[in-house]
């Protein structure tokens, strides 16, 4: 290794946000080094300070943040002391940062082409407009964006998430940085797109010899791309080592906890639907279709998009049926139709023989409403922020005509492993995982025959997911409730469902027992989904073996 200073050197960095009594330390004496061509990962959950690290290195903390200690160097030069011009050079051709949400990272009022052309130094100081354009063209091809003419003339909201992320990548690479920082590059994307982006990043890094600093909460993703890993928690680095060292448990209990959360414990359910097959179906869905009007120009209507087309499905009492597909596949729509939050345009949905498909929830008989409950994706929106937890739960209990007393509420809280004292708290005093437990308690309180769980753990931190899912499964068994589990995460489905149906563009392409469908998939689309789940390091639930293992 030649004796040049490392690309990025951070020593004992301390960053503080806020002022006067409301300040908190986002980073505490964090140290990190990235050498030329190295691939380093920083893993941690939300609030660990990992994004702050990237922003601090580029002096982009914003008005509320400031460095209160430590030093940062790029190729030996002190970043904090850099004058304006040097700082701009650093940002354009030293370190490139790809931010988390590609849609928000681009100016909605400017075409892509214009935003790409204004990157300083795209093609050297004497470049003509033609030089710049040809360089941009080449770069777009490299990031695998065909039809560059259309892309350059488009506005950000006219492109998909995957396309935008490629544009952001291209924009950063145009400056030819030596170090590329990626902050949660795939969180906002669906499984297959994520896998493709990861593949692309690896390819670009190899080709141009760029060093990588990958920041993510997804340990699987980190494992797929990096050699050295730092683990962050609460603003400090708690563990560091090579990828293999970290994945075999590391040196810190927190690391061990993260790794353990990736691999679910307990025996895999048999995935055998036999016990259920003999039962009379609870829900019969036949030929269901639903379309939405598309927003046209100037706020008018411009055509329809079919969210569901001719769907047939049955749900048997007590079973766990998973509905998988990518975003836009219609899986959430089907769940909402079943619950009554939307009405089907065509087809029938029969619940215990009663037709409810086209009946919105306001007009369904109360008894039927109570039999179908829902757990939503976002714990923050699920609970009324102005009412206490206890009040919301007792309301759910009372819906069956039960007695509104503190004991019943306490018992319910106990069932989801929350202390009885939580009854008097407001939702904002609870963490995301705790809120989701309350939401689950609320859904099961009226003892429904079926619970629709729409991405119940996607919005939670990785380490919390398994516990919440275990809870869901336990309650389901206790109450004998059927569970319609809607998810994009195949590994999660593999561990928790009895049967699975795969949706694509509003139609079911394959369905059957989990073991069969996910073990030996027949349809090409199912195979593609499975491949992407393993390749991209999964969307958070982890692989079946740790990376780095032979």
């Amino acid at each position: 290794m030649p004796d040049t200073p490392p690309l990025l050197e951070i020593e004992d960095l301390c960053v503080r946000y806020g002022r006067r009594g409301r300040a908190f330390d986002a980073l505490r004496a964090v140290s990190l080094t990235v050498g030329a061509g190295e691939r380093v990962g920083v893993v941690g959950e939300s609030g660990s300070g990992k994004s702050t690290l990237a922003l601090a290195a580029l002096r982009a903390l914003g008005p509320a943040g400031r460095v209160t200690g430590g030093i940062m160097r790029f190729r030996g030069a002190d970043i904090a002391a850099m004058p304006g011009r040097a700082l701009r050079m650093l940002r354009s051709s030293g370190i490139g940062l790809v931010q988390q949400e590609p849609m928000a990272a681009l100016n909605p009022a400017m075409t892509i082409g214009r935003q790409l052309r204004e990157v300083p130094g795209v093609a050297g100081p004497d470049a003509t407009a033609a030089d710049i354009d040809s360089r941009i063209q080449t770069m777009l091809e490299e990031v695998r964006l065909d039809d560059s003419a259309r892309i350059l003339a488009a506005y950000p909201h006219q492109l998909s998430g995957g396309q935008l992320q490629r544009v952001c990548l291209a924009m950063v690479l145009l400056g030819q940085p030596s170090l590329l920082i990626l902050d949660e590059p795939t969180t906002a994307l669906d499984t297959r797109t994520s896998a493709a982006i990861i593949d692309l990043v690896r390819d670009m890094a190899d080709r141009h010899g760029i060093a990588l600093l990958l920041i993510s909460h997804d340990l699987g993703l980190i494992g797929a791309l990096t050699d050295r890993v730092l683990v962050m928690q609460g603003g400090a680095v708690v563990d560091r080592g090579t990828a293999v060292e970290i994945f075999t448990g590391g040196n810190h209990p927190y690391t061990a906890g993260l790794v353990r959360a990736m691999t679910p414990a307990g025996p895999m359910p048999s995935g055998d639907p036999a016990p259920f097959a003999a039962r009379e179906p609870l829900v019969r869905i036949a030929g269901v279709g639903k379309s939405y009007p598309l927003a046209g120009r100037w706020g008018g209507v411009g055509g329809q998009v079919a969210a569901l087309r001719g769907l047939d499905l049955e749900i048997v009492p007590g079973e766990t049926l998973a509905l998988v597909g990518e975003s836009g596949s219609g899986k959430s729509t089907l769940g909402r139709i079943l619950a009554g939050l939307e009405a089907a345009d065509d087809g029938t949905v029969a619940f215990e023989g009663v037709e409810i498909g086209a009946t919105p929830i306001d007009r369904r008989p109360r008894e039927i409403r109570l039999e179908i409950q829902m757990v939503f994706q976002d714990p923050d929106g699920s609970l009324n922020p102005s009412l206490s937890v206890g009040r919301q739960l007792s309301r759910a209990l009372a819906s069956r005509g039960g007695i509104l007393d503190a004991n019943a509420t306490a018992a319910l809280l106990d069932m989801v492993r929350l202390p009885a004292a939580f009854a008097s708290r407001l939702p904002r005093e609870l963490s995301g995982g705790q809120k989701q437990r309350v939401a689950i308690a609320r859904a099961f309180a009226p003892a429904p025959r079926i619970v629709v769980a729409d991405e119940p753990v996607s919005a939670l931190d990785a380490s919390l997911r398994r516990d919440v899912l275990d809870l869901l499964r336990r309650l389901q068994k206790d109450y004998g409730t059927a569970l319609l589990l809607i998810s994009h995460d195949l590994t999660l489905v593999r561990w928790f469902a009895d049967r699975v149906a795969v949706l694509r563009d509003g139609a079911i392409v394959e369905s059957g027992p989990v073991r069969t469908v996910l073990g030996s998939p027949r349809h090409a689309y199912t195979r593609a989904l499975l491949a992407a789940a393993l390749e991209g390091g999964s969307a958070g639930f982890g692989r079946s073996e740790p990376p780095g293992a032979p």
Partner: protein, 279 residues
């Protein structure tokens, strides 16, 4: 109620809001204690055109007297009563109407919303003062009519705010959860949605109080306000306008009074808005 007070206590970190609260409380106290604090009867002519500090009997006309000779300080204090009484009454009425309409329009949408929103738009099409002039010249100026006019003019704005909030809140999952439980429309509107609009509404209320106070003052100034001889800051300035260039004290005192009261509400609204953003 507890949370309501907690909100105000939390303001103590923001000096600007504290100043606002102090101003508001000062004028409320002045209004309440006017009969005790005022040195003279606000309606009795004493010493026309008296300059500030002039003596009358054993007491001083601290702020001077107006064209008819009434003590300005006493009139300002009693004017606070009139203004606050009508402002509070009118604002509460406007809120009752506006919140009900906004909840209904935002929750039910469809035809209910179309009709209510169109009605609100029609009222809001009038420049505010033009609307007041039209109403008050038709039905005549009296305390009750002013209450009515203010309600008609303010309710649409409130309705819009509440409607916007309701439209957003009704899409939240906890409303869906309530529907799944079998809760009816009224329950959802009153128990699930209404408590969540409290924060922005409180800010809006403070601003609106200030605005209504200004409006009452303007109406008084234009001659459309409370009939004399009720002391009203606006009409005090109107009466003194002809001679204001020679006797500025007659207009300055009520001008400072109304400005400081409205400033108090505006500062309070600012402080509450910052709080709300955080909480």
């Amino acid at each position: 109620m507890r949370r309501f007070l907690q909100t105000f206590v939390a303001l103590r970190h923001r000096p600007v809001a504290v100043v606002g609260l102090a101003l508001v409380l000062f004028w409320f106290a002045a209004a309440l204690l006017a009969p005790v604090l005022a040195p003279f009867d606000p309606l009795t002519p004493l010493k026309p055109f008296a300059k500030p500090g002039a003596a009358h009997g054993d007491a001083l006309l601290l702020l001077g007297a107006d064209t008819v000779g009434r003590d300005i300080l006493s009139r300002v204090l009693f004017g606070a009563r009139a203004v606050l009484l009508y402002a509070i009454g009118a604002t509460l009425l406007a809120y009752a109407v506006g919140v009900a309409a906004g909840l209904a329009a935002g929750y039910y949408r469809g035809r209910v919303d179309t009709v209510l929103s169109f009605g609100a738009n029609v009222v809001l099409s009038f420049p505010v003062l033009v609307l007041y002039i039209l109403i008050l010249t038709t039905v005549g100026a009296s305390g009750l009519n002013i209450l009515l006019a203010v309600t008609v003019a303010s309710a649409p704005g409130i309705m819009r705010v509440v409607r916007g909030l309701t439209l957003e809140l009704r899409e939240r999952e906890f409303v869906a959860a309530a529907k799944l439980r079998g809760d009816g429309a009224f329950y959802i509107m009153l128990v699930e949605i209404l408590p969540n609009v409290r924060g922005p509404l409180l800010v809006d209320a403070c601003l609106r109080f200030g605005y209504v106070i200004i409006t009452i003052g303007v109406l008084g100034f234009l001659g459309l306000g409370l009939p004399p001889p009720v002391p009203d800051w606006g009409s005090m300035i109107k009466e003194a306008r002809q001679v204001a260039l020679a006797f500025p004290h007659m207009t300055l005192a009520p001008a400072v009074a109304i400005s400081s009261l409205v400033l108090g509400f505006n500062l309070l609204a600012d402080g509450l808005r910052d709080l709300d953003g955080r909480g």
